[in-house]
């Protein structure tokens, strides 16, 4: 589904990576190794060399907004552009069940963004991304500030997304999570990707 070929950005690369349809692939690496730089380059938020394609279709053959709608990137700290939570969703009432599943207060839509905790921001950011129905999820440590219950729901949502034919590139630091959510993954070491299998 998602194919990265000889991607070069800053000190990274050339990097090759493959995420098949229905698959969740993890990406690990020490902090500062360039995981976020890599993810931003995949989402085309920074210029990079090499080819990135979805289902064999090169991203340069479509507009950047089209690409980003299909390859949905969630940064470790999602950004907000309005005061109220609801303003960030196309249809908040349709998102409420998922928010509830993630342990969020159903009234959170009426809150102001400034009062959200980092865990709430992370979960609302994920709901906002999933509302967009991207085909490939690019998640940067989406469970870093979550408790175990919420973490389990996030992992479940990702699994459901993949079962429905989507795919996911999931950044994690936690070896246990790596084994839970994926069969294979990559480590980013000194600007190069090393494949690893969960055993």
């Amino acid at each position: 589904m998602l194919t990265v070929r000889s991607l070069v950005r800053l000190h990274l690369g050339p990097l090759d990576l493959e995420v098949a349809a229905g698959q969740c692939v993890t990406l690990r690496g020490r902090s500062g190794s360039g995981k976020s730089v890599f993810l931003r380059a995949i989402a085309d938020l920074d210029p990079s060399e090499g080819t990135v394609a979805l289902d064999g279709r090169d991203r340069n053959t479509m507009s950047a907004p089209d690409w980003r709608r299909q390859v949905g990137y969630l940064p470790a700290e999602p950004g907000w552009w309005a005061d109220r939570v609801t303003a960030h969703f196309a249809d908040w009432s349709a998102c409420r069940p998922m928010a509830k599943r993630l342990g969020l207060d159903p009234a959170a839509g009426d809150w102001s963004v400034s009062r959200l905790s980092s865990g709430e921001r992370q979960r609302l950011g994920l709901v906002r991304l999933l509302e967009n129905q991207p085909r490939c999820l690019i998640l940067d440590e989406p469970t870093a500030s979550l408790d175990e219950a919420a973490m389990a729901v996030v992992e479940q949502l990702v699994a459901e997304h993949c079962e429905a034919g989507g795919s996911c590139l999931f950044v994690t630091h936690d070896p246990a999570q790596f084994k839970r959510i994926s069969r294979q993954g990559y480590r980013l070491e000194e600007g190069k990707l090393v494949q690893e299998t969960a055993a």
């Binding site: 085309d44 907004p65 940064p75």
Partner: protein, 268 residues
Amino acid sequence: MSYVTLDYVDLALAASLLLINGAVSIALSLGLARSLAISSVRMVVQLLLIGLILDFLLATVSPFWTGLAVLVMLGFAGYEAMARQDRRLKGFWAYGLGTGVMTLAALLVMSFALITQVAADPWYHPQYLLPLLGMVLGNCMTGVALAIRSITSALADGKQAVEAQLALGRTFRLSALPMVRSALRTAMTPTINSMAATGLVYLPGMMTGQILAGIDPVEAVKYQLLVMFLIAGATAIGVTGAVFAISRRLSDQRHRLRLDRLTDATAN
């Protein structure tokens, strides 16, 4: 027309008022004495020089020398607008963008005014062209500098907000729209406010100058109104041009936010 001419003794007498500034600075050790001295000497030298240059220009009425004066004024306005920025575009753009939009605004507004309203003979007569351009450009420059500053810092400080929208597949234009709007509002407000305050809070320098020179006050007011309209027009053109040019320069065809095209805030 009649007016009282000043001789240099009168000026020296008035200049003695600067001693108050100096005394305050020294008594309270404000450390302003040095820059006060430099600034006042600069003012005297620059104004006397300009007086001599204008004398020459008005005596010759040459399109070449007048054109050169216009270019120099545009050049300094562009430099001044750039000097007021903490974060600048890299390379030629830091200077070129502001200078470009101001040149465009001044060109449009001045040709409109000189062809249709002022109707000087010849149209480039420096007696009309240079003072009008000076006032239009001075105000346009303040607006453009403010516009560049607000859109640049809005995009730089709002990186997360803009990129969050980009990542969800919105266009750059849509993602940056609130910032474009507020920068335009910030940069246009001073001109609008000054129109409301004119005549009540302060008497514009040009108008009072004409009155001092013995012109009928109502005639002076008419000239002042013309100048205010020209300023409003030039500021609107310059400010809009600057905000859109900057937001274009800080993005690319792939709808990315290109803050890498700015220098660091600390570098200047």
